[in-house]
Symmetry: D3
Subunit: 288 residues, 6 copies
Amino acid sequence: MEMLKAILGEKLKAFLEEDVGLGDVTTNLIVPPEVKIRAQMMVKESAVIAGLSEMKVLFNDVVGVRFRCLVNDGDEVSPNTVIAEVEGDGRAILMTERTALNLLSRMCGIATATRILVKKIEDAGLNVHVAATRKTAPGLRYFDKKAVIIGGGDPHRFRLDDQILIKDNHVAIIGGVGEALRRVHSSASFSKKIEVEVKTLNEAIEAAKSGADVIMLDNMGVDEIGEIINALRRLNLREKVLIEVSGRINEENILEYARLGPDIISVGEITHSVKSVDVSLEVIEVVK
Amino acid sequence: MEMLKAILGEKLKAFLEEDVGLGDVTTNLIVPPEVKIRAQMMVKESAVIAGLSEMKVLFNDVVGVRFRCLVNDGDEVSPNTVIAEVEGDGRAILMTERTALNLLSRMCGIATATRILVKKIEDAGLNVHVAATRKTAPGLRYFDKKAVIIGGGDPHRFRLDDQILIKDNHVAIIGGVGEALRRVHSSASFSKKIEVEVKTLNEAIEAAKSGADVIMLDNMGVDEIGEIINALRRLNLREKVLIEVSGRINEENILEYARLGPDIISVGEITHSVKSVDVSLEVIEVVK
Amino acid sequence: MEMLKAILGEKLKAFLEEDVGLGDVTTNLIVPPEVKIRAQMMVKESAVIAGLSEMKVLFNDVVGVRFRCLVNDGDEVSPNTVIAEVEGDGRAILMTERTALNLLSRMCGIATATRILVKKIEDAGLNVHVAATRKTAPGLRYFDKKAVIIGGGDPHRFRLDDQILIKDNHVAIIGGVGEALRRVHSSASFSKKIEVEVKTLNEAIEAAKSGADVIMLDNMGVDEIGEIINALRRLNLREKVLIEVSGRINEENILEYARLGPDIISVGEITHSVKSVDVSLEVIEVVK
Amino acid sequence: MEMLKAILGEKLKAFLEEDVGLGDVTTNLIVPPEVKIRAQMMVKESAVIAGLSEMKVLFNDVVGVRFRCLVNDGDEVSPNTVIAEVEGDGRAILMTERTALNLLSRMCGIATATRILVKKIEDAGLNVHVAATRKTAPGLRYFDKKAVIIGGGDPHRFRLDDQILIKDNHVAIIGGVGEALRRVHSSASFSKKIEVEVKTLNEAIEAAKSGADVIMLDNMGVDEIGEIINALRRLNLREKVLIEVSGRINEENILEYARLGPDIISVGEITHSVKSVDVSLEVIEVVK
Amino acid sequence: MEMLKAILGEKLKAFLEEDVGLGDVTTNLIVPPEVKIRAQMMVKESAVIAGLSEMKVLFNDVVGVRFRCLVNDGDEVSPNTVIAEVEGDGRAILMTERTALNLLSRMCGIATATRILVKKIEDAGLNVHVAATRKTAPGLRYFDKKAVIIGGGDPHRFRLDDQILIKDNHVAIIGGVGEALRRVHSSASFSKKIEVEVKTLNEAIEAAKSGADVIMLDNMGVDEIGEIINALRRLNLREKVLIEVSGRINEENILEYARLGPDIISVGEITHSVKSVDVSLEVIEVVK
Amino acid sequence: MEMLKAILGEKLKAFLEEDVGLGDVTTNLIVPPEVKIRAQMMVKESAVIAGLSEMKVLFNDVVGVRFRCLVNDGDEVSPNTVIAEVEGDGRAILMTERTALNLLSRMCGIATATRILVKKIEDAGLNVHVAATRKTAPGLRYFDKKAVIIGGGDPHRFRLDDQILIKDNHVAIIGGVGEALRRVHSSASFSKKIEVEVKTLNEAIEAAKSGADVIMLDNMGVDEIGEIINALRRLNLREKVLIEVSGRINEENILEYARLGPDIISVGEITHSVKSVDVSLEVIEVVK
């Protein structure tokens, strides 16, 4: 996922403005305007790197200094790896430091958490996709979803308008999965996939027969999910739908779910409870 | 910290727009426009609540439905507590659900993590402030800092323009803490506090003597910090400055630092590595 | 498709501001501030109405006067039908008049053109969807797509991020439909439908076999399209994919294409070459 | 009319963002980031070209690829003319394609329709200006008006603040053309022209005598307009005012009106019912 | 000039946000959220009031407290006049105080300065309009121009697009007033007035004969202006054009210029060098 | 204070757009697009220059022409000094002229007025800081504060969130300076200075003893202030606080206040009643 620089730049400018306010009063008092510096971005812990292409746009295009990547987005690095260098106007680099690191360390955190889950499944020889949810930080949907992709995950839908997903609250209002599916099938755009959250085997069967593209099994126990998947197989309905499993799945229990053979396991935690990766920016040279 | 509703509303509208896009295609197909619903927000785990006043502005002022709090920001709740009810246009409530929960669960997460640290210190009978840093999610500075305050913490500076904080990179460029302090003292606005990160006892002494308001001891070991604080006491300089301790401090080790007698312990983790609190919104009644 | 009022209001405010500038110099000189008026919106020609819910938000929520619909979005009206009344502050209504009519008459124009095509197909007893394209006026995507839906059409994808659609330029760059499909299938999100533009029967077969959800036959003659559809039927591939036909299809020739039995016919003209419906706003009473 | 690039660029960025959303999911999956392409913009039908200077800003300044015009804005081209080439980053060009063409084809459509009317009048040896109205698509005022100018038309007023135009609704509220003119003459800025819509010869005479700059004859029959113009001539008032004729005038009937000798004929249709010109962008070379 | 509240409110919100930042840290610490207050706006010196309708929108519509005017925009008040009362949420009123007063005191300052000039001319029995220029504070064009109107002045053109004004730099580039006028007359929109700055009597004559609507005599001495006006009278050209005189005209010397009989005297000082009127907001009651 | 160019550029673009509207209709008619010009900015009166770094960003980065400073921000110049040259696209320079001069002449005016006060105090051999207030023009806080700094003044707080300042209205609501200070001391962030406006000696003593950082003596007579400062000295409290004096202090009376020995004298007038410095931009060469 590579955004047009001009659009990405607007978002990054807004982030900068939030942190800078009327100016970096410390830097402006201490660092003379003509000072040029060279600095390094170092990752302090094992991590999957994500956010470097955002850093390029931030430093090169928005701030106007030189940013050079030493690794690529998606690379796994060991602790204390220098991942990039930035060189240019000293004041500008210091004013940008915190905004840059806040974004980068969050994106690395998401990519790293995603990769751990993806690898677990791969290492177990299973073929299940790890997907994100819409549980992203407000205003950061693009960055959170992109980091998931870099980590090897599926971004899932981007917002309320790009896929049809019938959830418990829809069913609660309209009275039944069947009625919800009927309304959707009669009027939905052909361009959207239709997913429906089901609570029982009967609902799962109804969904699969009606032509839903994806069935979501949310907040169910491992046994319950297993039974539904097996029943769908017996009824020759398994191949007609994708099955997404969701709800409090994490590093500890993901393999239990993955072994049941769903197509997708979606995990809110990778974006709603991000553990930032520790990255620092250190001045290594004052360039006269 | 209570923001003017009109200003807060603008930010919340932008968050909504990010999640809604051109519209909630599912809800629009399933829920007729005249349906009114009543729904509850339930917190699934122990938590300190933060974000309710934002929810009021979001639901009442921006979206135009009725939102009623059952607890207050700052309250500690046990698992499965209903904290609020929302009632009104069904489509509007469902379109707002995810944006609302994403913000609320993050703010609760920050307030809860902050409170845990604050309590630990209080329970040990110590008098040290827990402070946030500028390590907040881009675009969410206001919300992250507010949640820290609700949790009982000190928000620390809001951005680069509201306090002078001389950090390692400033010193690296200018060649010494002394020179940095000199430049700052000669030109800084009287309205700003001056804080300086020091690496040695000598720098600490220099800072205290020069009239710095706050000394930051960043990424130092417990012993080193203890020695500096004790030396400042012996030299009758301790009372002249506030001392802030920072750097990889967390729930496990915070008391070790607190017992050394600093004024402030700042913790990046409470905002850069937020564990969201699990909150759900469930429709409990379709109101004809 | 019903947008949250608060979000829609922002767009409408921007439209108003474009037309008002620093103020309605004429109205401010002539109409005293205390004058209240009642005015009617009249449609001068046969039309399908679209845009009334936007007018409600514009007049009621943004401008703060009373707007009352006399018909509904989607209704077909005969010439000289009064479709709504607006009552309140005279200056405000006159300042809003042109912006309101410009949006409404465009949306009615799109809905009317769409309905004509949809009816043609229905009247011929065929079951083919009429879809829009992304050929909408810049900045008006939401309004143009919504008007298509009101007219009975399928909005098709909203933008570049909500469906995968491999077009001729993609194929030109990568060297073949097959290679393009391979790349997409290996990495696309499960949440997106995959559509591919094909130029030959072989490409169509390849697409259908590879698991594409939709095949687009763009700018082909009626005969060519017929042959491809028939061939897919013979090969039992017809049911595996949706077929979209596109390219200079209009009121005159749409039935020729519809009779070939595609699933969707997409028509750029309904949004890129809109014939506005003639709507006026006339003051009918000065309310003291 | 040549806008500052920086201001124009902001508008174009907003258009791009509307179409791109979180990213071009298709292009990002298929086209590797290092691919450079060369593409051509071809006009498929006879047209007056308008929008090339916007394309330059869009491609060169906003998107950062090379755009080279082969014709100029205002040129008349025959079908299948290559009007421009664009070369650079493949992903960026494909992400921009639709936004670019949507704007360009609309502007060409407006310029072409305007030119047809202008030529008709010129070919008849008449000296009457063809003018636009404020019936432009919301958000596109600048582009629509500019295309009219390129087509040879007069843009008329830009918005409600740059000319005084007393219309039927003003008169309806205040009770008479005379009273409206009195209010305007007593307080209007000297910097604005004053135009007034009149319904009768007497009103026309009153307007001309009072010092109005322009009289508008709106939605009147050819005979009625002829009588008024002749009467004004007889009374030696013709030279004191400009006369604008308006109301359902189109290619078919414009000469009838033009022959009556007004100064301006304004035509809503050229902007409110735009027939887009068919323009395509085709990749012609993959540049390694 | 009365702007739509919704548009005005957006500008006022941006002003508020500039002053409030992340919140009024003082007020939030001291004033409990439930406190309601009543406060008065008092003007400390003689002034013409302007900005009350902006205050209404700010307090009533944006901030949501009750604002009641005791005088009207345009009224002249003596020192220590209470001009308005505001009542409601205490925090909200204090957060708004400075933004409100900054705008109001500037607008009053402009209106007062304008009125003084206007009165001077009226008291001398002369009939010359006092006009503003485009020398307004960046971002405040609307407010500055409106205050001029309230003071009794003519706002002159709003920006570069609403009148044609050929100035010295245009002439310097193109080589002569005559050539500039020729280009303008051949292509300008009929909807715009044409004004031209002239340096000599010959240029003035050329301008008047060519059909310019307004002649500007900028930075000339009183004698020179007198000669040109008299010469135009002798040549029967005086009635064909409006004459605007400009350049370092102020309270002291305005009558000298006015007695020469121009139509307009424009004065940059009333907006570029505003002396704010002293207005305070004082809490007079804490309403439980 | 040096803002990131990218952030500053956004503000300047908005200023430009306000003045340009849909385009510079005069320049576009007269100046051909290929014309390049060279122009000079000349200051007509004695002044302290401020705003040149904003001009650099405006002309170089936003507008894309060459801007070269001949003096520096902060320099004092004599009348008729050429301070900068600009060279490039003729249309672009003329479209930018007024916006540029409006900002520059205001900033020079503020810097000049500030410098006069600062020099007065220096020349009297006193050591008191001249500070600004929040009485800046709405939307221009950054520019007004920066001009104060260039003039040699202290910017004081930037907005409501960067310092705690207890004012008369806070005290009026809460009932006393003591109670206000208590609330603030118990909960304020360590990162903010605490200032309190006092009305009596007793309040001053209370404030100094409680640990306030700054005491403000607002709108008091010279004698009263003298007594309070002397009393604080006698009580050995003078060194514990900074003393700010404020309220209708100007060039005439500032030394009377300065001789009393406060730390800061704040003056609203330097930003709320700006006398713009006369600066012009003149085309000196048409570069083919």
